[in-house]
Symmetry: D2
Subunit: 327 residues, 4 copies
Amino acid sequence: MPSAAIIGSSGYSGQETLDRVLRHPQLEVVALGSDSLSGEPASALDVRLNGSLPPFVSNEEALAATADVIFLCLDNERAAGLEPPADAVIVDLSGAHRLRDADLYPAWYGFEHPRPGRLDSWSYALPELYPPAGRLIANPGCYATASLLALAPLVGAIETTGVVIDAKSGVSGAGRELKPSSHAGFVLENLSPYRVGRHQHTPEIAQALGFPVCFVPHLLPIRRGLLVTCYVQPGEAADLRGLLEDAYAASDLVRVLPEGVTPELARVQHTDGAELALFDDPATGHAVVVCALDNLGKGAAGQALQNANLALGLDETLGLRLAGVLV
Amino acid sequence: MPSAAIIGSSGYSGQETLDRVLRHPQLEVVALGSDSLSGEPASALDVRLNGSLPPFVSNEEALAATADVIFLCLDNERAAGLEPPADAVIVDLSGAHRLRDADLYPAWYGFEHPRPGRLDSWSYALPELYPPAGRLIANPGCYATASLLALAPLVGAIETTGVVIDAKSGVSGAGRELKPSSHAGFVLENLSPYRVGRHQHTPEIAQALGFPVCFVPHLLPIRRGLLVTCYVQPGEAADLRGLLEDAYAASDLVRVLPEGVTPELARVQHTDGAELALFDDPATGHAVVVCALDNLGKGAAGQALQNANLALGLDETLGLRLAGVLV
Amino acid sequence: MPSAAIIGSSGYSGQETLDRVLRHPQLEVVALGSDSLSGEPASALDVRLNGSLPPFVSNEEALAATADVIFLCLDNERAAGLEPPADAVIVDLSGAHRLRDADLYPAWYGFEHPRPGRLDSWSYALPELYPPAGRLIANPGCYATASLLALAPLVGAIETTGVVIDAKSGVSGAGRELKPSSHAGFVLENLSPYRVGRHQHTPEIAQALGFPVCFVPHLLPIRRGLLVTCYVQPGEAADLRGLLEDAYAASDLVRVLPEGVTPELARVQHTDGAELALFDDPATGHAVVVCALDNLGKGAAGQALQNANLALGLDETLGLRLAGVLV
Amino acid sequence: MPSAAIIGSSGYSGQETLDRVLRHPQLEVVALGSDSLSGEPASALDVRLNGSLPPFVSNEEALAATADVIFLCLDNERAAGLEPPADAVIVDLSGAHRLRDADLYPAWYGFEHPRPGRLDSWSYALPELYPPAGRLIANPGCYATASLLALAPLVGAIETTGVVIDAKSGVSGAGRELKPSSHAGFVLENLSPYRVGRHQHTPEIAQALGFPVCFVPHLLPIRRGLLVTCYVQPGEAADLRGLLEDAYAASDLVRVLPEGVTPELARVQHTDGAELALFDDPATGHAVVVCALDNLGKGAAGQALQNANLALGLDETLGLRLAGVLV
């Protein structure tokens, strides 16, 4: 059975990755890295974790453990500086290896990339659109995943200027770190845009689409879930619905909703799937494409497992949380 | 002291209008109309209302009461059919008299306007932009108020095509009526767009701006508050910030935030004010204008009182809820 | 493979039951009853349901379908009047067959029980405490499940007077029906007790414990999840923790938390498990027992499946939602 | 005009106190103390604050400013160590001077009281029950305020054993400090009890009532608002409703709801009032008394202003937020 190590396993994306590895019938946890919990039993992270798991070790030790797949759940700068072990499949959930142009890192991520020459060796992998190639996998950002699921199939059939992506995410997208903008006294019964025109997922989306977009995220007073509303101008005689339906016809995870059905977060929360819907705006001729997903699922850990499965030659959805019909 | 009657006083906008009339030092309630509560004491609506108020009467009786100002808090079709009493100032909080072109009503409101020839006699009044003229006042919609506060001062300095308004509102915007989309089991921990490209505030915004917009509203899992994120392309050398600051320099209710401050609903909830902020998007050259307000305050009852004050020659903010510095 | 029919499948408990039947590897849906959706495809209830399911039929037709297990997800009075088909296992999720004393129905449920003589033939089944006996199964109420998991193992070791149960539930506990108390404008950012001293789960709890309790439920501004805080006076030298740990040592679904760990809804939502914790109150000598579960999971549909599994001789947790370690 | 200084003005209770001082027609701010914001303009705390206010100074400087009333909005231990300036009215919003018995501080507050001999000089002031006496005022805790409003008038008419107080509070009760339990990812769509049997308001309630109580607080996923559900056993022929109504007949802030009306947080949020309701439990003979208030209003800053008004000989409700009839 392939073995897995999780580096940075005590953050939100680490914990969610662990959740899916534990559900996975063909992966075995060999190392749980966490600098803050090193030496503690797994239950120190969550009481639902028990004695069958190894105790936490430092992230360095976890990296050194011989694992077939390594999930990197670190902050961007830390992940960028790592020398990835040879042979293992590495899935990096951070943004450290998503941009091919190292020059973009200072402006969008706030640091000089320490290993700019190695960015080419990473594969930006969003399986339905860009399957992983090779063993070094840059797992897309939550906002980028939703935006690209909505827009990538339409490239060529829409105008490349004036594309607007208005995004909304639950607070878990900002991680477990304590900061004023994650304080419940700020978040509850509130809504606010943030990093307008400066969010680091913007160049990631532009890189994949091939043209710039105007991207504005908003913080929602919900725990998890993310929805993007994308505004585009279709080219003449474009069949946008056909393009979307074709793109995801074979997918177990991405559903194009029938006309008249409105996407909603409740149907994708706690799952690794996504919902897409297409609307027309008669007043301006715009098309509006909406994508809903769980920022910690398809937007992070679910997609990381999906990528790992593909890289390991396993069934794509093993360990993933498929949708039921919960209320 | 001028007298006031509220028609349809048991809905959300009616109750909020009553709240402000009761706070108003120079208005006296003479009639509370409600077909469902007719004959009941005011406390039947809310235990905080007491014996100093007249009991509810039918809406027809309330309309017939001689009042100096009448607030119409009815559904669109009902309000459209009313013959307004002579002499009184009438503030219609519904959409029945907002559109000058009667032909738009069937498509956007779902009914033929019963009094198309009279639409011209109503003044669409958003005081900071379009003060009331005459005694018949069409009070703007909540989404339209926010959108116009954000965009109207910029007309002439922005391109008139490609304008996108992504709007988000708390559930009280949908009224007290029971419907599946207002059920808490649907709303909580959820987000969904609705009436994409079909919302009735769309032509109201377009009429005031002079060009069409792509408008998409979303339902937020919050009680009250509304935020619009407007995407525009500035003309050459346009000073959008200067235009906004000039437009509201004299306003006690609309605040243009300094650069670097992000609008948030928490600062406008339970008030009759609004917040505006302007951002640039370096990737595409768009400007992003955000407006936050309380859908029941500046978006409904607060603006209705403001309009009534102006029409009656009273101080504009009497009875209104001005912002404190609540957490 | 055993066959299942769901009667009243378009309400919350019906939909959640369906969710679990679809996850169940050894149950097959043969009939979906819903009077409101009769004739519609399954997708009319939820877009995630697809063509592999039979269309809705009327509840009467669904009851007449030959199924090995029938889940009754009807309102109390309707369920009380049904003549259950012979042979099938019947799991009634309503309160119609929970009280052995028919005389209690008028006061607590508001109707005369139409089949008082048959109440004895139903088995009140909460598997960890009272496994199902026979094919007619009264599935416990959500509040009763939590209260009994907390208190039943302690009977004999606590005083039988002065027991207080303060309960809090998310809004889905009140069902999909539209009513003012489920309107999001009422629920959001709010909290209120309801039916104080009059809730119909009170006699159900008392019947199982053998003594009366003071039970007060509160409506929480959350979608799903239920927590009871139970206040009891321990007898001399009582080992309450030992009693709880013994009671659930063999359970896959009920977890007694270690000392120092606080129960929380987030760990049980969307699962069919429950969490228990025990605290002492030094000031008064009380013990405080807390139970958290998902009102639609262990509090309804999860337990219904668990009971059905036991009655059919299947593995107890088939089809159930077991906890992961989601954030 | 009397002058006011606020010490610790950048926390929640400090900001809310400032809100009310600014609304107060007869108080003038002379010093805003904040060690973290010292030297910054008032707008650094909140953009709604403007140039008419003095900039922040250190807490020490603010204490030294000659003010007629000083509001202490500090943490418990810091407030306990302060030497209060002579002459000024001091309202301490912390718990530093609430307990008369200094020996209770180590166990309940975690520190030795540094000035135990001075506790007697402070007046525990909850105006409707215990008006301030003297110029040193210990402002009650939020939970204690609600519990005492519910129970103090009943002392003598209820049994003094077995009293249970189940309390629920919004997250702002825990202050602006960053901690895991205030992270929105923990709070949202969640509920949990905390400090069971160990909360520091427990001895404060017991001291005022004269007997111990079993007190358990729970953290609600709401921004503000607090509700206590109190369980008591009435003595023979006790007229609890009469006692409550008599106690608050003259109050502008505390309302005893008529029979059949249920308290709810929505009616007291953003106000300085409180709601009380009384229910009987037929099954056990208990009485259930519920009190709802805003933890930052009547539970903190509103009551602080009320106490200050009384101590300064001003009208009791100046500056307070009285209830309207907002939805």
